[in-house]
Amino acid sequence: MSALPLDAEALYGDLLVGVRALVQPGSVLVGIWRGGAWLAERLHRDLQLSGEHGVITSALHRDDFSSRGLAASADPTRLPFEVEGRHIVLVDDVLFTGRTIRAVINELYDFGRPESVALVVLVDRGGRELPICAACSAARVTLPAGQRLRLARATDGRFSFELR
């Protein structure tokens, strides 16, 4: 694990500006477990949105289930609002192949038919394997395919990146 020359806190500030421009009346934030869930929680608070934000996991719709099995530690999806007819803004820390987003959209549809679904991410690292793109990303980076980049949250709530 090593530190990446990316300032997660500064990027969060950029993401906040982007998401503020994107949300409309009736929008609801849904964070992808787990880094995206931290981001959604903080965005929801900083944007002073009404109601509650949601948390969603890709675990039950992953396309690599037969080779990787069931994730041991994913929190269950919690969507404390009607999905039907809502403008959903999915939030994730890192966008890579797009497979997690595909799985999460399937998971979302198990709860109803949203009016629209948009995606915002802190970092887009390229390498897409599916036709998925983010409406807003605070940074674009290029990394070797085998490296894993993810968000970490300190006890005081500050964000940083972990590279493995």
């Binding site: 675990a59 039950l60 719709h61 289930f65 080779s67 990787r68 530690s73 994913a74 198990d110």
Partner: protein, 320 residues
């Protein structure tokens, strides 16, 4: 490659079959219970189905009668998007003399991915697990007097749901313990999960003597057995497994070991009452208790679907 000492686990200590709770690490049990929690919420969605077993065939092989267990396995497999084939074994080739392993070989040739097996002989699911193709998974749905691991796990899920922590509980298992594979699975699970006080309560003819070696307190006095208990697991009196007169009569049994409101008052005020079903009202449990506020018998059935979904999805996702 199967682990040398436990055919249920692969070399990474991951579950590939569920044959018995005995010998499973605590972490595996917690993983199943945590995963079941996820699936419980799936059952409340608009779409009560996830695609984890899409394209897989689950064969329900019930060599003994069962309605509840077979149905909940079928619902669980269907909610995981599997194709489910129920075989009425009693009327099939086995009745014509085909051996168990020949039946399995034929079903494997039909591209089975998972066998859910109930059998009157202890150890039958082990035999199947040892002889089926490496990609096939086996779940024991009850074998003889030996084990009923998914019932044991759903009982643990129920206890954790209502009591949160296993490490300060007193659990009384009451009734026909000697014939009960549920009791054996429960006791192994309770021990593994760290329950400090487990009591086996029943008449001498129905409580095996070797339980003390498993760290279980044996009580032949009902009042003493359930006093201050947090959890009471009542067992069905298994007339069909009894040979000879082990009891004077069902009425006599109820008088001494049947759970009535009066006896339940001896347990902790927030004690829960469980029963694996089917219940014999007026034999091991009074209707007022079975239908009372402390009874969690019907939630057990609901949790059973989520637990079976968890077991099937975990083993299907692990390779030998």
């Amino acid at each position: 490659m199967l682990a040398r000492n436990n055919p249920q686990l692969n070399r990474h200590e991951e579950l590939i079959h569920l044959l018995s709770i005995e010998g499973l690490p605590r972490a595996v049990l917690h993983h199943i219970l945590d995963t079941a929690g996820t699936f419980l919420s799936v059952n409340e969605r608009e779409v009560k189905k996830v695609p984890l077993l899409r394209g897989k065939s689950v064969f329900n092989l019930f060599f003994e009668n069962s309605t509840r267990t077979r149905t909940t396995f079928e619902i669980a497999a269907k909610r995981l998007s599997a194709d489910v084939i129920n075989l009425d074994i009693a009327r099939s080739s086995t009745a014509k003399g085909e051996s168990l392993l020949d039946t399995i070989a034929n079903l494997s040739a039909m591209h089975a991915d998972m066998f859910v097996v109930r059998h009157g002989e202890s150890g039958a699911p082990y035999l199947i697990a040892q002889h089926c193709a490496p990609h096939v998974h086996v779940v024991n749905a009850g074998d003889g007097r030996h084990a009923h691991p998914t019932q044991g796990l759903l009982d643990m899920y129920t206890i954790r749901h209502y009591k949160r922590d296993f490490r300060n509980l007193t659990v009384a298992v009451v009734g026909d313990i000697v014939h009960s594979r549920v009791a054996r699975s429960d006791i192994h699970a309770l021990t593994t999960l760290g329950v400090p006080e487990i009591r086996a309560v029943g008449p001498k003819t129905l409580v095996p003597g070797d339980l003390k070696e498993m760290g279980v307190q044996v009580c032949h006095d009902m009042s003493e057995g359930i006093r201050d208990a947090d959890v009471i697991i009542m067992l069905r009196l298994q007339n069909e497994r009894m040979s000879g007169a082990m009891l004077p009569s069902a009425g006599e049994f109820f008088k001494t070991y049947g759970l009535t409101a009066e006896k339940l008052a001896l347990a902790k005020p927030d004690a829960i009452v469980m029963h694996p079903g089917p219940i014999n009202r007026g034999v091991e449990i009074d209707s007022a208790v079975a239908d009372g506020t402390q009874s969690v018998i019907l939630p057990q059935v609901t949790f059973g679907i989520a637990v079976r979904m968890a077991v099937m999805s975990i083993i299907a996702g692990n390779t030998p």
